[in-house]
């Protein structure tokens, strides 16, 4: 009898062993972007494959940053997976707040991740977050207006061409602005745009000794050019326009050109939301002939906070969500135009995806961005539209507020740059860099 029970128990244990670990419920903090929402809708596929369930905590981007920072620094353990970006990943990885993703399975094919993405999400050569989708920035323009203006957009235009084209496309009587650009205060809004733009003018945030560089000519050239062009051809009130405001203007046919995140391409070409969906062209972000373009690089990525009790299940989820199979799954359910872009090389080798109108330009933009050498002159930091140091977000938010005040006509370029110089040097001195 005892032998019978023992055999039953042994059989049960062996069955458990072969079916894998016990099913868990993992909690994921994320943002409300289209690709993330699509992933939430497909979670059943992950649960069916692994048995693990998923709880989603979706928050506004800034709230999410504050929330996960509080949790990770206090080891609160509220989340098993975090959605973070290229700015946070190397900093948090260096602090030991994230679990290294150096033991992902062979079938995951880590070598397929675009090198620019893998580089930006690593610290000291170790990957700390897997890219869910990546983006750069590029020009989206109205082909009909460009034609009407008698001009042709080159594949890699200069800023001078963009300024001329913007002036030619502007039609104030019909409420058409030649160009729409971010001017809203915030390090991730107008701050990101002007920093990326300044790289192409030869400007940089810091020299190799962490001294602020706002008192240099390239920064004055950048701001004067931006303000001059926007006053000539930009929409009124551009000082408060961010991504969504410009998206709305472009979709309503009120912008001739818009330079912003590559992810916007799928929005402006979607006929359900955009009135100009069938007349949008794409080009690389402009340069000034100095060897650096004004495009940025960003990725929304999935990372595991150190201290989670569900590391194995969390890794399984990351492997599922950032895999080639997941891309195939989205393509099957929602079409190739809706797959998460900018993360894997194989996606851009797929003939089905190559047929998507903005695929090539997105890849070219991502490949032309180098976060390790973002500027003409050497810099001590990594990052194109940001410097990957903890102090940057606070400093850049203040600096971008000063720049927005210029766009709103509340102060001059010289005054704003003098304040930016003082703000940055003071903060860097207080933080012990200088």
């Amino acid at each position: 009898m005892y032998l019978k029970y023992a055999l039953c128990a042994a059989t049960a244990l062996s069955v458990l062993g072969t079916t894998g670990a016990i099913a868990e419920t993992i909690t994921i903090a994320t943002v409300n972007n289209g690709d993330m929402i699509r992933m939430q809708g497909l979670t059943d596929d992950f649960t069916a494959k692994t048995g693990h369930k998923v709880e989603w905590v979706t928050l506004e981007e800034n709230v999410l940053r504050q929330r996960v920072t509080t949790d990770i620094t206090t080891k609160g353990g509220q989340f098993d997976i975090l959605t973070i970006g290229m700015y946070e990943t190397p900093i948090w990885g260096a602090n030991g707040w994230l679990i290294p993703l150096d033991d992902l399975s062979e079938s995951y094919d880590i070598g397929d991740i675009l090198p620019a993405m893998a580089g930006g999400l690593s610290y000291d050569g170790t990957l700390y977050a897997a890219p869910f989708y990546g983006e750069s920035s590029m020009i989206m323009y109205r082909t009909d207006l460009m034609e009407k203006a008698g001009m042709e957009m080159p594949e890699a235009p200069t800023w001078e061409f963009i300024r001329k084209a913007a002036a030619a496309m502007t039609d104030r009587d019909n409420d058409v602005n030649g160009i729409c650009l971010r001017g809203k205060a915030g390090w991730g809004e107008g701050g990101a745009f002007i920093t990326a733009m300044s790289n192409s003018f030869g400007a940089r945030w810091f020299d190799m000794d962490w001294n602020a560089q706002f008192d240099t000519k390239p920064w004055a050239d950048t701001l004067n050019f931006y303000v001059g062009m926007m006053n000539e051809s930009g929409p009124s009130g551009y000082a408060t326009n961010g991504f969504n405001e410009n998206l709305s203007l472009f979709q309503q046919g009120k912008c001739g050109m818009w330079i912003d995140a590559t992810v916007a391409a799928s929005f402006v070409t979607n006929p359900n939301d955009s009135t100009v969906a069938d007349s949008v062209g794409f080009a690389l972000a402009p340069d000034n002939g100095l060897g650096k373009r004004s495009n940025w690089l960003w990725a929304w990525a999935l990372a595991i906070p150190a201290g989670t009790a569900k590391e194995a299940a969390a890794k399984q989820f990351i492997e599922w969500a950032t895999s080639k199979d997941y891309i195939e799954l989205v393509a099957e359910k929602e079409g190739w135009a809706n797959v998460p872009p900018g993360a894997r090389t194989s996606l851009y080798e797929n003939p089905n995806y190559q047929a998507v109108p903005f695929a090539k330009m997105t890849l070219d933009s991502i490949l032309s961005a180098d976060p390790n050498n973002p500027t003409v002159e050497p810099v001590p930091y990594v990052g194109i539209q940001f410097a990957a140091i903890p102090e940057f977000a606070g400093i850049a938010t203040e600096v971008s507020q000063e720049f927005s005040a210029v766009y709103a006509g509340q102060q001059t370029v010289e005054e704003a740059l003098a304040k930016a110089q003082a703000i940055t040097n003071d903060a860097m001195e207080a933080a012990g860099y200088r």
Binding site: N33, I37, L59, E60, R67, F243, A264
Partner: protein, 276 residues
């Protein structure tokens, strides 16, 4: 002549009152209208007021994506629990300050109010660490306690103001008739201050319902109330105004209905004293 002046004044007052009322209500009205538009209509320039293709699509999307009832239930528990516990603590506190004041009563009242001047984020980390130690993160119990403590100064102040208007002689008479302290508060003081207590409860329920700092920072998946539900519909990349408006309308609907049905009680409690 005086009749004409009165009529003119009445008309001016009525127009002024309606204008201010509409001005205050307009953002809510606009949110409700936007919730019935498509994302493209929501950003249309010039804005569309009434003449657009009304749709319930946003509500369907929100309903499909989020477990609204769970967020709603959490809001009810957190707002209701914190208000009730707060009132139970505040009634005896306000009684002692109104009827048995000491030399320091006014100082204590002012000190209590001064705690409201502290920016909440200043104590985020200490509270978060305490919550980790006590296992209260992402629990309704934890939020009930925190929000009750945050609103307690306002509850005590409001009740103190109402109690001050009740003549002490009435309570003295009850004591002379043999009422104990507990009986004096429950059977004499509380019934006389019902309008004040009711408006205090309503106002604090609304404050707790709308609280969006602690409810966002101390919750994750289990105890998140409607404030987190709204926050989940804001997007940095992509149009979201129509869906956000639908989520906001669903979040404020219960409190609007409650406010509508209890407005007489609320106004009476806020504008009249206990014994008038």
């Amino acid at each position: 002549m005086s009749r004409a002046v009165t009529t003119r004044r009445k008309t001016i007052n009525t127009v002024l009152a309606w204008s201010i009322g509409i001005l205050i209500f307009f953002p809510i009205l606009w949110t409700i209208l936007t919730s019935f538009k498509t994302e493209a209509q929501a950003i249309n320039d010039p804005p569309l007021f009434l003449f657009f293709d009304w749709t319930l699509e946003n509500y369907a999307v929100v309903q499909e994506r989020s477990d609204y009832m769970r967020f709603l239930w959490n809001s009810v528990i957190i707002a209701g629990g914190s208000t009730l516990i707060g009132v139970m603590i505040a009634i005896p506190a306000a009684w002692s300050m109104a009827f048995v004041p000491s030399k320091r009563t006014k100082d204590i009242l002012l000190w209590m109010l001064s705690t409201k001047m502290l920016p909440a984020v200043g104590v985020l980390y200490p509270i978060y660490l305490i919550f980790i130690e006590l296992g209260l993160l992402d629990t309704r119990t934890g939020l009930v306690v925190v929000i009750m403590l945050i609103n307690l100064p306002i509850i005590v102040w409001m009740l103190y103001t109402y109690f001050k208007e009740i003549p002490g002689e009435i309570l003295e008479a009850a004591r002379m008739d043999g009422a104990s302290l507990r009986e004096e508060i429950i059977y004499v003081l509380t019934p006389m201050a019902v309008p004040g207590i009711a408006s205090t409860i309503l106002l604090n329920f609304i404050l707790a319902w709308n609280e969006a700092f602690w409810t966002l920072n101390l919750t994750a998946a289990q105890a998140a109330p409607l404030t987190a539900f709204i926050a989940s519909y804001s997007s940095p990349e992509g149009l979201f105004y129509a869906k956000l408006s639908a989520a906001s309308t669903m979040a404020i609907a219960p409190i609007l209905i409650l406010g509508w049905f209890s407005q007489k009680q609320l106004v009476r409690g806020l504008t009249f004293g206990a014994v008038k």
